[in-house]
Symmetry: C2
Subunit: 351 residues, 2 copies
């Protein structure tokens, strides 16, 4: 590529830093500008990541003709207004997951992205982990046989640390707590592996967090393709990231050391994926492609701006993941009764 793709970071918290480091590991992206409301945050981010300029308003950033695309990591409930402004200014948009906090906002974003004709990507990066790529291959080639049960868990201690200073404390900004922040990754992973979820049964509890949102959520997913899926998410324990598949030919067990979550170039080397055959006690490691999920998704986004790549996770995939979250939350209000995912997707409106 003759020239790097010039992107700007919007929202300069912890996740903007993780993405900036991911982009820096590649050769495609130049972080050319940044914006957050706090001048101190802007200065610090510029210094840390060698970003040549900072905008003092979103308008200023968006009127910069050099900026081809933006990386949005603002709070979930601000995604719609920020993303719509960015698309309106002709910028391509990458946004952190979930696409939005509500189905309605997600629908508006999806329609605006489609209308703009600009690349739009959502950070459901986890499906890119080497372990999940290998699992998908075992399913597609039939090596695992036919899958009956899929179990996933993504948990950490965030719920115990939340304060009223953070938007994640509040139910109207982050409905579902651990489920919408962590579980939504597996809502995408499981559908990536097994196809669309048809319905979800769920129970949610606010056990040990002082915040307004649940810190223990368990859901059962019914897949159109047949299997049942379990999605566990907690916010009150040491970090867990696991996914297991049980097939008629083999089982696969994936376990990632959550301590390395932010450093996605290390994730595969800090993960184990083993297979289990009938009557074998030894569970041999499974070959995984080497991946760097944050770098790869950002490179893909940047290359898509140049017409040299296709976006793997766009609005539709992100809406399907969010619909599982909201179906789960509705089910948890209905005593666990199954809630269909299809009508929840439709709540986003015409896509």
């Amino acid at each position: 590529m003759a020239e790097k793709v010039k992107l700007a970071s919007i929202g300069l918290g912890r996740w903007a830093r993780v993405l900036a480091r991911g982009a820096r590991r590649g050769t495609v992206i130049e972080l050319a500008s940044c914006f957050s409301r706090s001048p101190e945050s802007r200065a610090k981010f510029q210094e840390e990541y060698g970003v040549p300029r900072a905008a003092s308003s979103l308008d200023e950033l968006l009127s910069d003709p050099e900026i081809e695309g933006v990386l949005v990591t603002t709070p979930n409930d601000s995604h719609k207004s920020v993303i719509l402004e960015c698309l309106d200014a002709g910028k391509a948009v990458y946004t952190d997951k979930p696409i939005a906090h509500t189905m309605e906002d997600a629908g508006e974003i999806a329609r605006a992205a489609a209308a703009s004709g600009r690349p739009f990507a959502v950070g459901h990066s986890a499906r890119r982990l080497g372990g999940h790529r290998a699992m998908k291959q075992w399913i597609d080639t039939g090596k695992i046989g036919r899958v009956s049960l899929a179990e996933a868990n993504f948990s950490n201690e965030r719920g115990l640390e939340l304060t009223t200073d953070t938007w994640r404390w509040f139910a109207d900004k982050s409905p579902g707590g651990a489920l919408i922040q962590l579980g939504v990754h597996h809502a995408d992973n499981l559908q990536y592996l097994l196809g669309p979820a048809a319905a979800v049964s769920s129970h949610a509890r606010r056990l040990y967090t002082k915040s307004e949102v649940p810190d223990a959520i368990m859901s059962i997913l019914e897949f159109d393709s047949g299997p049942l899926g379990y999605l566990g998410t907690g916010w009150a324990s040491p970090g867990v990231y696991q996914l297991r598949l049980q097939g008629t030919e083999a089982n696969l067990f994936y376990d990632l050391d959550f301590n390395n979550w932010d450093d996605s170039h290390l994730a595969d080397s800090k993960s184990t994926l083993v297979s289990q055959a009938y009557r074998e006690s030894v569970r041999p490691p499974v070959d995984m492609p080497h991946t760097d999920m944050f770098r790869e998704q950002l490179d893909e986004f940047a290359l898509a701006i140049r017409g040299e790549a296709e976006i793997e996770v766009g609005a539709l995939e992100a809406i399907r993941a969010l619909a599982v979250v909201h179906a789960a939350l509705e089910s948890s209000q209905r005593n666990g009764e199954s809630v269909e995912v299809g009508p929840m997707v439709e709540r986003a409106g015409a896509l």
Copy 2:
């Protein structure tokens, strides 16, 4: 003990053999007689386990004054009639899990056992595994902190092998398939660890088995004590036996090599129990007591006959485990809506 406790095996299939080997590893029990309908089975069992005599009818076995107790491993739907006869004859009774296939039969058995005043034990042996004993200790001492999520899975390939020759094929004899045969163990384990389950949400699928019963069942348990529990059971994959706990201070991961299930003296050495602390990537092994679940439960039963031990898992614990199974099956008929365990226990009648 001056003299060994004389027991007799009733039902001489695979499980009678597993128990016979368990009893033989101890020094308390003498298998003095046996009965099944087939003369060939009786002769073979006598020869294999050095059993001095065999009865040609249940009546004949029960009229043998030397026999102090019986080990019942007949099909689940015959438990009630066999056990009631045995109790009526004044014999102490150990029965394989589940206590019965229905709540009503379970209640009748429980009342008959209480009325008889004889020791009555149910083979929910798995809670005796060293790993589960250690988990219980971590909960009781507070070392794990407060538990939010508990996940359990017990699966194997049995559903793929079933034929109409076996009672497990039929929904009226083995309702719930993998759930009542395998999952019922974890229904006991989880309640042993976390106290009574209040309600269960469940989905059951008949995916790959040709039999009448489900081979994929996922349930969410709501515990009176607060945590949520997941219970996965499958009958269409290589064998899985796992239990995980997530606490505010630590996580515990237990994984048993199912290939050794029958040889309970080896189970602990074929299991791993590791703990996970915050921000630690190394998961150190947890000290487990050495156990031999089948031997221990049989020794306990035999010693209880002599007044030298107390039964750990009697009718009440077994009924609570079975009630989780039936609440799950009812929930699966009601689209996952939570079904309370208490009223299901009451279906067994006054206990």
